[in-house]
């Protein structure tokens, strides 16, 4: 598989703290790559670097072979990177459809935006496709703030899909979900990984081991291990640093 997203020797320093240290990874469409590790290992910082929200102190990021290092988040988004956040980041007073439609419009230039506004149905139809992909087609006209916690997390991904990305960066999308919601979400992740390159940061190990094709384990900003879920589960170093013995 050809990598669509490549991080090469990525580092990020905050004062005296090296939050991400020389991390390299490659991600291809059709692949779900899970990044796991203890709290404070640098996982969210890595996602923020890949999404262009933080500038790396060293290293580079390529999307489809283009160097996008230092381009800023909205430019990286236009190169095809969509993301969800640890804490839900939506417009609660707007409808589900309006939330998704904003993401469609954010993808185009100012001139394109005017064109999109004129051709209203184009953006609406892209937004509706994104919503149906995450199982929210029936809820398109509901006010986002009235959705359940699980549905809000689905909408976050729907909004990311509405930006028509090739890469999805998902930061703890299962946080706060009950067992049933987690199961539904695992199915959704499996489906998405067929058509997108998905990078998943998550602590729910049942789901991670059920959906990941490859895994990277981070510790103190560095890559501790990278490999298949079977290899990661078998690694003594990963057990000691993160999994413990109950997983």
């Amino acid at each position: 598989m050809t990598a669509i997203l490549q991080a090469i020797g990525l580092s990020r320093r905050f004062g005296g703290l090296l939050a991400v240290a020389d991390v390299s990874l490659a991600l291809a469409v059709g692949e779900l790559h899970a990044v796991i590790g203890p709290n404070g290992a640098g996982k969210s910082t890595l996602v923020n670097l890949l999404a262009g929200e933080l500038l790396p102190t060293a290293g580079s990021i390529r999307i489809d072979g283009d160097d996008v290092t230092g381009r800023g988040n909205w430019r990286v988004a236009r190169c095809g990177v969509g993301r969800s956040f640890q804490r839900t980041n939506l417009m609660p007073q707007m409808t589900v459809l309006e939330n998704a439609r904003l993401a469609v419009q954010a993808r185009v230039s100012a001139r394109g935006l005017l064109r999109t506004l004129r051709r209203d149905d184009a953006s609406v139809s892209i937004a509706r496709i994104a919503l149906s992909r995450v199982g929210l087609a029936e809820s398109a006209d509901r006010i986002a703030g009235t959705l359940s916690h699980g549905q809000l997390r689905q909408l976050e991904i729907g909004v990311a899909l509405a930006g028509q990305p090739k890469v999805l960066l998902l930061d703890e999308p299962l946080a706060g979900m009950g067992p049933e919601e987690s199961e539904t979400f695992a199915t959704l992740l499996r489906e998405l990984s067929r058509d997108y390159a998905v990078l998943l940061v998550e602590h729910d190990m049942d789901v991670v081991f059920a959906v990941a094709h490859r895994m990277t384990v981070m510790l103190d900003g560095r890559v501790l291990e990278c490999g298949t879920p079977e290899a990661i589960r078998a690694s003594a170093a990963v057990r000691d640093a993160y999994l413990g013995h109950s997983v």
């Binding site: 916690h149 067992p179 190990m205 413990g244």
Partner: protein, 232 residues
């Protein structure tokens, strides 16, 4: 039997016109560990907020040691020995670990030294600010700060959420230590198996009402109830 530490009688509460809790009866006795369970949106956090005095009751009563505290503000209930570890941890971001602990201190068996013995990691990070801690360390600090008040009842709302597996194990171990020290505990958590193995009694909420209150073992064996009420 002595009066329960905490009791809710016919408690109803909600937000504005929306009623979330419907006539809840709920008790916690001294030294008891209660698992408060239910799917998302069933009223667990609303019940906790109402018991703590952070949300007014629409009807019904809250009693502490048999005394009606329904209209007492949260800080008065805290002074009577009710402490909480809230869902968002509530750590003071600009204060150091030690400052976070010291501002909550009240006389009793739980001292700064004992809390730092329970959480050696906090000792290592004692001069770091709240916002420089990892999620797990913040959770330890929130629990440590609650213990510094020397409570008789500790309420933990989703204390293991967003934590790595190893850290989650550590938090469950800590809750056992707290329980074994004689403090009554109410625990709300998505990890059903952990709650069932820890609790002396469990209360299950569905749509703001109590549908089960009793032994965790009986609930665990009731496959239909587990599926219907907890989605397991």
């Amino acid at each position: 039997m002595t009066a329960p530490i905490l009791e809710a009688q016919g408690l109803a509460a909600g937000y504005g016109a929306s009623q979330v809790l419907r006539s809840i009866d709920f008790t916690v006795h001294s030294g008891e560990t209660i698992g408060l369970m239910g799917r998302n949106g069933m009223g667990k956090t609303t019940l906790i907020r109402t018991l703590l005095g952070l949300l007014p009751a629409q009807s019904g009563r809250v009693l502490l040691d048999g005394e009606d505290v329904t209209v007492l503000p949260a800080f008065r209930r805290a002074q009577r020995g009710v402490a909480t570890v809230p869902e968002n941890r509530g750590v003071f971001a600009s204060l150091s670990v030690l400052e976070n602990l010291r501002l909550a201190a009240r006389d009793g068996a739980w001292t700064e030294a004992r809390v730092l013995e329970l959480f050696p990691r906090l000792r290592q990070r004692s001069r770091h600010r709240g916002n420089q801690l990892s999620g797990g360390e913040q959770q330890m600090l929130a629990i440590g700060r609650a213990l510094m008040t020397n409570p008789r009842l500790l309420i933990l709302d989703e204390a293991t959420e967003g934590l790595a597996p190893l850290m989650r194990d550590e938090i469950w171990h800590t809750i056992r230590v707290v329980r074994d020290s004689g403090i009554a505990v109410i625990v709300v958590d998505k990890t059903v198996s952990a709650v069932l193995s820890l609790a002396d009694r469990v209360t299950v909420l569905v749509k703001g009402g109590v549908v089960y209150s009793g032994s965790p073992q009986v609930l665990r064996d009731d496959v239909e109830l587990m599926h219907r009420c907890l989605g397991v």
